[in-house]
Symmetry: D2
Subunit: 165 residues, 4 copies
Amino acid sequence: MAPGGDRCRSSVRSARSAAPVSSAPLDPAAARVRASFARQGAMATLGTELTDVVAGRVVIALPIEPRLSQQDGFLHAGVVVAALDSACGYAALTLMPDDAEVLTVELKVNLLAPVSGERLVAEGEVVRAGGTLTVCRGDAYAEQAAERVHVATMLATMVGRRARP
Amino acid sequence: MAPGGDRCRSSVRSARSAAPVSSAPLDPAAARVRASFARQGAMATLGTELTDVVAGRVVIALPIEPRLSQQDGFLHAGVVVAALDSACGYAALTLMPDDAEVLTVELKVNLLAPVSGERLVAEGEVVRAGGTLTVCRGDAYAEQAAERVHVATMLATMVGRRARP
Amino acid sequence: MAPGGDRCRSSVRSARSAAPVSSAPLDPAAARVRASFARQGAMATLGTELTDVVAGRVVIALPIEPRLSQQDGFLHAGVVVAALDSACGYAALTLMPDDAEVLTVELKVNLLAPVSGERLVAEGEVVRAGGTLTVCRGDAYAEQAAERVHVATMLATMVGRRARP
Amino acid sequence: MAPGGDRCRSSVRSARSAAPVSSAPLDPAAARVRASFARQGAMATLGTELTDVVAGRVVIALPIEPRLSQQDGFLHAGVVVAALDSACGYAALTLMPDDAEVLTVELKVNLLAPVSGERLVAEGEVVRAGGTLTVCRGDAYAEQAAERVHVATMLATMVGRRARP
């Protein structure tokens, strides 16, 4: 098959040129992301926090706690994936039309090291935004005091669809 | 590159020939899986239950609840992935030596439909078990009364390592 | 994020209920696949042959030759992927509207064993067909006399788009 | 499961600090890569050229030709994957012991745009090198005159094993 993406070509917008939310307090895309995030029961249950929202890039953090562990005390891979998935999905949403919702088509993650420390930081970034599909990259880091370890890297495909009225 | 897996060849064991745990109550692999599962804080936090453990195949279920939702009320993709990851990892562990621990190297999941209903069932199965790496497939289903919808399919690579004494 | 696929729900067609091409010689989908396959320069260069086309399932085979090897004489992983990608893409195309073209959005493959022998057989099958996206599974086998080894397994996402007039 | 990679931790080497081959003409890792590449029948059949080899990073290029096309005249996705797979595998090999061989465990690629133009350039880079497994990222670009389009992005897992004497 030929690589896909043709239909995505015309509407690519740069994920790099955006001003940070802090200097654009009325950014409707960021407001939309924050409102949506607040409705995610799972993000609350996992104790996550939305720390950065700019066009094409979203960062989510969560405290590493025993209640989120796997059998050896490290953070469960599924929790890492959940945070990365939300970061990537919301990064995609920042570049979608105002009335869009975002769903995960698929994701793939390589886990680079067992996760321990104080805090997980999951960064999602748009690689290519299209009319229908958006490809994102995510990277997660375990933080402990001044140390930061790269613990996971993700590629994900998101789809936008019109919200139902 | 050549496809990998050569070193995995000699120790493949069949995932199909095993008797169910219920008819083999002293199966040490199943006992090991159950003990490990009980130590997973994340699985408890998500409300999961280990429903089947046989050689090469493990099933995990969890109730679909608002506290595990994404923004539109469906089950969060990360929760689906967490359940599938544990199911696949434990399926791999059933075929590993007694003193092995299992870690996720990587996973990829396609999400086939938004997840709603009463219960998510995540099934993990070994595709190929090797000396070092085990490849697993996972499939998740949303159940509601008599209906069962296929909501996700996963491929994952697990690695066994010796437990530290 | 929520798993995607909602929009795909209504148009799912069964990949299982189809009669084989041999008993339906006028099947327009199979004819379309065969015509498209014949235009793939890469499939000819790799020496592939389209061996089966039924609704939701396509099989492609190729001889294992030194000119397609990696450095140790095994079949190159990229060749395995190329065959699986075409098998999956055409499996998707069999369930798409008559004027559709198919493109690969993404694919992931686990390579289970080094590939040697006489022939590679790549089977692609639709897992879920939707209005826009189709998810496929592929499995490749190395054949040598009566022996058949499972050498790779794939998950792939395909997108249909209207052909340009 | 816990994310894997623990055993990989101690032997990580930086992919960034290496001098380019041109300033280290006797680099044995680069020589090893070039010798191995020359033995890949598939790379010759596809018309590829090894354009850069430094520690942790390898670049491969190939002319875009009708004999490598899919049905609409674009470069076949499998060819893109083959080039990226070799670039990633050899990037991994540059950081492995002298007597190691490299095999692909798995790979995942997102195809970002149909590939046309004069030349495909596939860049592979090590994300994390470990004692057993190495995680790589690959990016492919279609070049035409002064234009360069990002057409694919890959994550791949490679495994090193001792060469047989």
